[in-house]
Structure formats: C-alpha cells, structure tokens
Amino acid sequence: MANEVCFRNMDLDQPWLLEQYKSRGGYEVLTKILTEKMTQDEVIELVKESGLRGRGGAGFPAGLKWSFINRNSEASRYVVCNSDEGEPGTFKDRDILRYNPHQLIEGMIICGFAIDAAAGYNYIRGEFWEPYLRFEAALEEARAAGLLGEDILGSGFNYDVHVHLGAGAYVCGEESALLESIEGKKGQPRFKPPFPAHYGLYGGPTVINNTETLSSVPVLLKNGGDWFKGLGVENSAGTKLFAVSGAVKNPGVFEVPMGIPFSELLELAGGMKDGKKLKAVIPGGCSAPVIPADEIMELNMDYDSIAKAGSMLGSGAVVVIDDSVCMVKLLERMSYFYHEESCGQCTPCREGTGWLYRIVSRIERGEGRQEDLDLLTSVGKNIAGRTVCALGDAAVMPVNGMLKHFRDEFQYHIDNKKCLADS
C-alpha cells in the first residue's frame, strides 16, 4: 500500500483530531502560504504542475480549474467540496471525512485562498451521518485554532467552511445540481455553459472539486509537484483511493499509486472471495462500462489505460463481479438506479432511463423480444449526449458495456427465458 496522500496518517490512533493531524505536518503548508505570503498564482501554478486531476469522475485537471476563476469578479467567489459520493460502489470520500477531515479542511482553505473565496461549502451525502459529525467536529477544532474564521493565522484572510447535508439524490452529486441544492432549490442540473467557474454558487465564480481532489492538495504542495507526479504514471499523477467491493475477501478503500496493475489491487483486497472465479470488473463506479476478466487482469489502473479499454477510471469504485452473477440481472439493477435517480427535467433522461430499465427488466423476466437488444442500443443513442447533464450518459454507458461484452447472456435470456448464469 502507498498511504502517502489522503491516507498519510491512517496509522495514527485518532487521525481525525487536530493535534494528531498536526503531528504529521498538518496545516504546515497552509501556515507557510499564509505567513510567507505566497501569491495566489503561485499556489495555483503548483497545483497545475503537480498534474492533479479531479477525483470525482471526470478527471479534469484541478489546477487548470482553479485558474479559470476571475478573482476580480464583482460577485463573491466560493469553494465547494463535493462529498456527495453518490456513484454506486464508491465509498472513499467517506473515509477521508471519517479519518482525515483536517486534510480536507486544509485543502479547502488553500483553495479558498487561491481564488480569494468568501466561503467554502462541503456538500456531504445525507446518509453520512457519522462522517458528517466528524467533519463538523474538525471544523470546530479548526475554528478554535484560528485556522478558520476571521483573519486566519493573522494573515488578514477571512474564510470559513460550512456543511450542507444532502438528502439522498444521486443527481445532487452533479456539480450544478449540487449548487442548486445548496441554494435551497430543487436539485436539478443547470444548463452549461456557463460553467461554475464563471457562474457558480449564488452566481459567483466557484471551484467545485471532489473530496479526494481537495484533500490531496496540502500534501502535494508540501512535497512538491514532482514528488506527486512521481507517485503515479504519465497523465495520472499521484496516488488514488480505490473503493473495492463485490466478490473479494477484504473489500475496502485502498490508497495505491496510479497505474497499479489491477491484479495487484485485487490481491490487496484479499483476492476473490470463496474461491470464486472473476468474471468482470466495473472499474470506476456504476457508470463506467464493465470490463471482462481477461481484459482487466492485463490492465493498469490509470486514466489512460482504462480509457483505452473503453471504460473510465471514474470515481475509483472497483466492483468485482464473479461468475455466479447474471449480467442481465446486474444491469437491471443498475438501470433501475438511473431510472430512479434521473432528476426529470430533460426529456431524454426522464423518459429514456425508465424505458431502458423496462426493456432490461423485461428481458430479465424472460419476456424479452429479439428486437429488444437493438432497441436498447437505439434508445441509448437517443439519450447519450443529448441531455442537460451527464446522468443521461451515465445511464447509457453500463448498457452499452454489457451489450458489448455479454450480449450472449442477454440473447440467452431472450431465447430461453432464463439465466445463463443459473444454468
């Protein structure tokens, strides 16, 4: 394991406490920035140099995102952390909130300084009650220590971080829906452009980053961009938290270098459970197309390698599927999720996700028709790329992945009105 970044103090007794975080050099970077008067541009440049990419799913370069902010805007600027962690299979940000909340806070303050923000908001998944309490406690500690609030560390910089608890909508993890939700409106994605960097929270320029992204910042600034780059591989700097679940012996969150072979990650998770055979892997959360066993066993876990295999590193949720699983049933469950979670504002997603689910469900029940396979592809085509936000695409990708690699199972269902996996 390589607990170098987000999990750097995992070995401590109570790493979530301020004093313990400080014992590992916590808040040193922030202090340096604020007292040695580093400029905002310098900070942004360093984040850019490190090659840090967004860990929320899309992998957008973090430093570049920060650099879009117009610090002279009339409207106030904001930092928003996305701890909604809604992508099925993902549970890494929860561990940051539970075990290393101060590092996230430090990252949010640094980002706030870099863009001269008025305030920061952390949008935490509603079900994360215990992590929420931990995070709130950490905020209190930081405030008491003069790390948040007025005139932080005597620097003249005023900034605080507030928590907004979600209420159980996947779509609120989408950045613009998340902003609407913080504003107290119905959680529906906004049409983009304008992007949050220009028109974000309350209309002000806003940086919105994933929990892991922001938590990586203090460490990479401390150790330097080259160090961070050196942890990973070309185009995929640093380490990554993978949330491994499914048919493995020791499911959990693992911090490993980017580019680690999948086979090693599987080993870290204790290998296959009960001697089951690996059938396939969803490498980056439910929205990432599935990759069959033989292919994934040859792949490294970094943005480019996974993309080359036709999938995405996504949120780093690795779902390990064994050969007792019926892919039709699995897809039915996933399609149900998108159908249930569509916000409903745009036509293709509102109407299309339900349709996809019903077709898959029909096939699953043994009521499928031959033309349903083409219908799935065609309905998917009418959704993908035509929606307001990427939830529509996310609903289509698993369908396409399954049909590409496991079409025979669907065909079997249609022909025999039962499962290939059962027989």
Binding site: K186, F191, E341, G344, C346, T347, P348, E351, T353, G385
Partner: protein, 767 residues
C-alpha cells in the same frame, strides 16, 4: 448598435447577421428558419430541458440546443442535418411514449405544438409497448383546467408563474418519470394573469375551463379586437363559432400587452351570454315593462328627448367606444344641452385634473423608468397588464412606492405608505416638501423618514414617474391630490401620469364627451336633470354615489337607457330600454391610456334585436332632425370623431389651486369604496367563471384590527354601515391592510348599492 457587435453566421447554408450574444433560436426565427421547440418561450428564462431544438453546429461533436446557444461569429449551423434530425426525432419519440395521445378528446387538438411537431418529427410505429404513466388531474381554480397526463414537463408554466405572474404558484415535485407539475399542496391559482398559462402550455395539460369541450380549434373563426376593461386596451383575438364568442386569446403587441392578457380580458366574454341580456327594445307602460319594436321605441325616445331638450343629462360609460361617445355628445348637444359626462366615478370636479390627462408615456416605456410613485391606485388589479409593466420596472431595479389607503399584495418589492383617505393629501404634501416643493398644505406638512425616502428615490432616479389611478380619481379631494402630485413631479423632475379608469377614458375626453359649461357627472345627479340619456351604465353599480344616481333617475321625467342588459336598477330608473350590442358585437375604437387609437370590427352579430349603439344614436339623431347624423358606417363616424379631436392634445399639466378646501376632514371613519377587479363593468360582473375566483370578493366591512376593536366588531360579525343616512348590512372581515381611520366597503358589489359615495364618513353598528 455598432457594426462590431454584429456577427455573421450561417444557418442551413443561409448567411445571417445577428447581434452578438443573441440566441440561435431567435436568430433563426427572425430569418424564418423553423427550429422545433417546446420549452423555449421568448418571454421566459431559458431552461433548455425539452431537447427538441437540438441542432448541429460545425466542429461540435454533439447536437446542442438552439435555445441556449448564443451565436458566435463564423458559426455554421445545421438545423436539418442527419445529426440534428436524429436528435429531434429521438426527443419526439421520448415525449410521446408517456403521452396519452388522447387528441380526439383534448381541447388542444388542432392547435397543439406536440401534435404539430409529431406530424413532422414523429414516427408512425410505436416502439414503446409498456404501460403509460398516469397522472391524476388537479383542481386549480375556475379558470384553468388541468390534465397532467398530457404534460411534457417543459416547465413553461412554472417559469411563467414565477417570472411573469410573480407568484410561484406552479412548481415541479418528484424526480425522473415521477416528476409532476402542480401547485404542490392542492390550492387554486389566483394570479390575475393566470389564463396565460393556457397559452403558455404547448400541449393540452393546461386548458381553458370555461371553453372546455365547447369547440374544436378548426371550427373557429378569428377576429382581432381590443379588450374593453381597462386603460391598457390589450389586443385580443376573438374566436367565434356559429355567431357565438367561444373564447378570447391575446394578440401579441409589444407596445401594449406583449403576448399576455389579464384574466378579466380573457374570460369576461362569458358575460355576453348572461340570462339578463336585453334582446329587444322595451318601454314602460303603466309601470309595466313591455317589449316593443324599434320604431315605436325610438319614436318614444325622440319624443321624450325633444321634450327634455336642454334639460337632458347624458351619462356615458367610459367603456363606450369613441364612435358611441362622439355621437352621444353630438346628439345631446343638438338638444341644446351641454350636460354630458363619462366621469361617473369621480366626485371632485374642482378642476384639479389636467385638460387631457393621460398616462404620460408609452405603456411599454414604463418598464424602463427608475422610480415610480403610485398614488391612489392598484394597477396590479385595476390594470393587470400595467401592473405587470410596473413589476418589470421593479425587477429591472426601479424603486416603486405606493401611497394608498389600502396596503396591496404586490408581487415585487415596493414601499407602501398606508394613509387614511383624509390623510393622503398630507402624506403627499410631505413628499412634495421633501422634494423641495413649496405652497399651501406643502409648507405645513410634517416630513417623516418615509416621505424623505420616497422623495430621495424620485430625485435620484434618472427617469421617475408619478402615477395617479382609480382611487385617486374617485377621491373627494382628487383636485388637491393631483395638484400635489404635479408639484412632486415638478420638483423632482418626474413625469406625471394619469392612468385613466376605463378602456376609453382618454378617448372620451378626445371626443368631448364632457361638459364645456354644462353640468358634470356629479352635478347632473346632485341637481337632478329633467331627463337622462344613459349609455352602457347600471344605476346601482356604475356611479360614484349609487343612491344619489338612482334617486335622480327616479325623479326624472324621462330616462332612456342604451344597454346590453336589463337589470332591476335599470328597470327602476328608465322609461325606455334600447338593446345595444355588447362587447365583440360592434365595431369601434378605444383610445388607451397612452393615447393609442385602436379600432376593431365586430366579431359576432348582436344578440336578438340588439344594435350597435352608434347606429341607434345615429337613428335617434335623424328622428330628432339633428344635423350631421348621416354616417353610413362606423368608419365615417370614426373619421368625424377623429377630426373633432384634432385640436385636442393629450396634456397633463395641472393648474389647480393647492389652497382649496379639503372635503375629507378625517373625523370618524372614512369609507374606502374601491371597485374590485371583477366588478368594474356590466360585462365582467356577469362572467360566471371570473365570479368564482378568489379575486371576486363580495361586499364586506373590511377593517383593521385596531379599528374593529374600537367599533366592538370581530371577524365574522355582521354590521351595518351607515353613510349619509343610507344603510347596508354585511359581514365584517378583519384586514390589517386597511389604513386606520378608515373602513373598506367596496363599491360596485351587490349589497353596497344602497350606500352613498365611494369615499365619505360612515359609522358602523353591530347588527
């Protein structure tokens, strides 16, 4: 606009020039290139959610919505490329899978955007074999019918409610397929503009309740017309089948009503078919009313009027057309009488109002002003479209202040100075003093913070406006109020405007439907005339002091009424009733508040024996051997009327004396007799659906808690209002929005016709 703010784009191979930043869909619309759409509406914010307008832009890998894409120089757009068409067809299929396709029983059938687009973009094979979504309908009031099964979730209604009606009455709840449009908690839609939801909804999800199942769109013939209820003169389309008005729709006119109309303008047509329509001439014989033929009736009228001669008083409705008013004044003047007036809701004729009051600026210019002081008016309900323009001004950043005896429920931020009727002049004088004016009343005024604040806003504004409305013109000290308003305007550099009470208040002045040296509306009733000619008025509802009016008519030797209805009060007052054409049944012209002459043709034949009033008046002229009654058409009448108006200019300059005696002294309780939105005229009062709305209030004693306590009254009690010895008993409603020292007892409602003037001292006694 400078050249460099223009860009050149290419749409389907056609080169177009456009303003930089304009939305592609607007640019295409202007060039006549059709891009299908549902959610887009050029008066609403862009939501880009229906995805029907997806088009292809060169170098963009995915289709993008034309409604949310701004043009950029050199952009190449394809609205009908394979990529664009595939996207549009895909969206159409999605929209239809859960749509009931119940076009045969849907009122929108034939004029449905979904139906039209599905012909162009739909497929004739259904690939969706599942059960369709079912959404229960909801009761949202007497005007708008819902059928949410047909909803396509475009959210136009939601945006309309929030952005135009300003009430957030509609919203969406639920996610995904279960997303529902509605009112959240079951309740009615009460906006005075709610009928526009019917037009805004592209499908049959929100339709007209009164029109429900009445006709199919293709059976209707359409005529252009002008709404008859307020000084806006909203442009409308009247839809007719078999000589019956089936419905009224807005006709877009950016300078007047944009694409909206008020509910009053949309649904009042129902009043045409009221059971008490007068369909043949009637005469009173030995105290009994009998139908007769036109010849007999007109002969009787001619004889009667000849007899009355110079003793005739003519009281004319300010909602009558230019042609009617012109001929009526001409007729009466030919009898040697100058007793002519349309100002039936005015009581102060001391000359405080300008020679030819008007709005002072174009209706469409209101939204650009920076500050407004509204005195004695509630445009939101009195002239809903004007209210909407004021709201736009407020949303654009204008500061809007009100000075009224009633606090109004406004849909934007405004400062409201609440002032008892007797104190309005003092408050206005204080504002005048604060802006630096001097003179009687003003010098003695006590300037408080709120007056200072109004004054500052007026003075600082680049363009400011002082507006007087219906309550001001009915005020017993109207002369003083308008003189003070003029001082405020002069000292602050603001424009002054008079809204005008009815559809043709401005037109009536232009054609001199008022005395030069004869009696005015007030004195004609105070010192009863020998005989009267009434045009389009109801004695118990349309006068400032209905008791006085009814008494005067009863005393008169001869009263002829041209009217569309026979009501008890008309039967009591008149000797002859002549059935005149109602709204939509006659051609005519209105001059709206900003001085725009708007003519219209009749849309249907008058009911029964009724005739357009201009024709009746012309024949009367002939029977009386008067000169100049040989017009062949309403066109001819209009031409003469226009010529007669030539020398008259709209003129808001006020020359009144500030030192005049104050008629309201503020001792005791003063009645505020405003006319509620759905009681303004005979047609509206008879429109059943409007009468079921929340705004159709009934007569009550509305009083604030403090005054109620003083009078020993509680909410729900019954009490008697006593005004100049006249009595009326009605329920008590506690309303904190009524100024202290006053009590709101509306005029023009059943139950208030036995009282006196719209303003005046009253006492209350628990019944």
């Amino acid at each position: 606009m400078t050249e460099d703010s223009m860009v050149t784009i290419e749409v389907d191979g056609q080169e177009l020039k456009a303003k930089a930043g304009a939305m592609l869909i607007d640019v295409a619309d202007q060039a006549g290139i059709d891009i299908p759409r549902f959610c887009y509406h050029n008066k609403l914010s862009v939501s880009a959610n229906c995805r029907m307008c997806l088009i292809e832009v060169e170098k963009v890998p995915k289709p993008i919505p034309a409604c949310a894409t701004s043009v950029m120089d050199g952009m190449k757009v394809y609205t009908k490329s394979p990529m664009a068409l595939a996207a549009q067809k895909g969206t159409m299929e999605f929209l239809l899978i859960n749509h009931p396709l119940d076009c045969p029983v849907c009122d929108q059938g034939g004029e449905c955007e979904l139906q039209d687009q599905s012909l162009a973009y739909g497929s004739d094979v259904a690939r969706f074999v599942e059960k369709k979504r079912l959404v229960p309908k909801k009761y949202i009031g007497p005007l708008v019918e819902t059928n949410f099964n047909r909803c396509i979730h475009c959210t136009r209604c939601v945006r309309f409610s929030a952005e135009i009606a300003g009430m957030r009455e509609m919203g969406s709840t639920g996610r995904g397929e279960y997303m529902k449009i509605g009112t959240y908690v079951e309740r009615t839609i009460d906006s005075e503009l709610s009928g526009n939801l019917i037009d805004i909804c592209p499908v049959g999800s929100l339709t007209s309740k009164p029109y429900r199942y009445q006709a199919r769109a293709w059976e209707l013939t359409q005529s252009d017309s002008v709404a008859p209820h307020d000084a806006v003169g909203s442009n409308i389309h009247i839809h007719v089948r078999n000589n019956r008005v089936m419905r009224v729709h807005p006709k877009a006119n950016e300078a007047v009503n944009e694409c909206w109309i008020s509910d009053r303008d949309r649904f009042s047509y129902e009043g045409l078919y009221s059971e008490d329509r007068l369909t043949s001439p009637m005469i009173k014989e030995n105290g009994r009313w009998v139908e007769t033929d036109w010849e007999t009736a007109l002969q009787q009228v001619a004889d009667g009027l000849k007899e009355m001669g110079a003793g005739t008083g003519a009281l004319l409705s300010p909602s009558a057309t230019v042609e009617e008013l012109y001929l009526a004044q001409k007729l009466v003047r030919s009898l040697g009488s100058d007793n002519i007036d349309f100002r039936v809701r005015q009581s102060d004729f001391r000359g405080g109002e300008p020679a030819l009051p008007w709005l002072g600026l174009g209706i469409d210019e209101i939204e650009a002003v920076d500050a407004v002081l509204v005195i004695g008016a509630n445009p939101r309900k009195d002239q809903p479209i004007l209210g909407h323009r004021l709201r736009k001004a407020a949303l654009n950043g204008a500061s809007v202040c009100y000075l009224n005896p009633l606090e109004y429920d406004l849909n934007y931020h405004a400062e409201q100075l609440l002032s008892a009727p007797a104190n309005m002049a003092d408050d206005l004088a204080a504002v005048a003093k604060a802006v630096g004016a001097t003179g009687a009343i003003i010098d003695d005024a006590e300037v408080k913070a709120q007056h200072q604040s109004v004054a500052e806003q007026l003075k600082q504004a680049g363009s400011a406006l002082v507006l007087l409305g219906n309550l001001a013109s009915a005020h017993p000290d109207y002369s003083i109020l308008s003189a003070l308003a003029a001082e405020v305007a002069k000292a602050s550099g603001a424009k002054i405007g008079f809204i005008g009470e009815a559809a043709n208040s401005t037109g009536a002045r232009l054609v001199a439907a008022m005395p030069t040296d004869g009696l005015n509306a007030q004195s004609m009733l105070e010192q009863p005339c020998k005989g009267y000619l009434l045009l389009g008025l109801e004695p118990d509802r349309d006068f400032w002091n209905p008791t006085q009016a009814q008494t005067a008519f009863k005393q008169a030797e001869f009263v002829v009424a041209l009217t569309a209805y026979r009501s008890a009060s008309l039967e009591a007052a008149a000797d002859v009733l002549l059935p005149m054409a109602g709204f939509a049944e006659t051609s005519g012209t209105y001059v709206n508040g900003d001085g725009t002459w708007q003519s219209f043709a009749g849309a249907v034949q008058p009911m029964g024996e009724a005739r357009p009033a201009w024709k009746i008046l012309r024949v009367m002229g002939n029977l009386l051997d008067a000169d100049g009654f040989d017009q062949n058409s309403s066109q001819d009448v209009l031409e003469q009327a226009r010529n007669s108006a030539d020398g008259r200019q709209l003129d808001n300059s006020v020359t009144a004396d500030l030192g005049q005696e104050r008629r309201l002294n503020g001792s005791g309780l003063t009645r505020i007799g405003d006319v509620p939105i759905y009681a303004t005229d005979a047609l509206v009062r008879r429109a059943p659906a409007l009468q079921k709305t929340a705004d159709a209030i009934s007569a009550a004693i509305r009083i604030n808690p403090g005054e109620a306590a003083k009078a020993g009254l509680a909410d729900g009690d019954r009490a008697t209002v006593i005004q100049e010895g006249n009595l009326a008993t009605m329920p008590v409603e506690i309303d904190p929005g009524v100024a202290g020292g006053s009590v709101r007892v509306c005029a023009a409602l059943a139950g208030s016709e036995t009282l006196g003037g719209q303003f005046g001292e009253v006492t209350l006694e628990k019944a």
